[in-house]
Symmetry: C2
Subunit: 108 residues, 2 copies
């Protein structure tokens, strides 16, 4: 079993892609529908480059997609992955949310 291969392990990268509060916040905003960068920045109160950096990741990794509309680039969720995924996450949190928030390893 090759340990060094784990750092490029796609499931690992999948979870690392989502284990970031800025990216999760962006996903939350896009749940309400497609949005341009500027609007995401405003809604979240984040600097533009923070949002762009993270949209770059989200799009390249397939979590969101985008479409140029004039000067604006409108981003939207990849619902095929995100919708069922967040359903599972939400169900899990119903039972284990409190523990997740108090985990000594994650919150140390």
């Amino acid at each position: 079993m090759m340990i060094s291969a784990y750092k490029t392990n796609p499931p690992l990268l999948f979870f690392k892609g989502l284990a970031n509060d800025t990216r999760l916040a962006i996903i939350q905003v896009l749940k309400n529908g497609p949005k341009p960068v500027g609007e995401i920045c405003e809604t979240l109160g984040f600097e533009q480059n923070r949002v762009s950096h993270n949209l770059r990741c989200l799009e390249f990794c397939g979590f969101v997609s985008s479409e140029r509309t004039g000067k604006k680039r409108i981003y939207s969720l990849n619902d095929e992955t995100i919708a069922p995924l967040m359903q599972i996450v939400d169900n899990h949190i119903k039972t284990y949310g409190q523990n997740l928030m108090q985990c000594k390893v994650l919150r140390r």
Copy 2:
């Protein structure tokens, strides 16, 4: 929108729980059935305490469960969450796996 609350955001912690190569490796081993710590260490070639640390997290956060059997503690997956979750992840990887591995943000 409270930014400071994001660090204790349960979905974030859910993903952080899984965005770790040791913990994912353990999950991979447990897919083949319940196992004691020692056997997980052997299979993966990891030091015992590395495995214990991470099992602690996995169990507290609800991703695995355990049962004391004599001197051994047998760990098993929470299939209710992990099975459908990894299904979604695997499907996503079929399409976006290459990009995940080359993402400039995740792999910088």
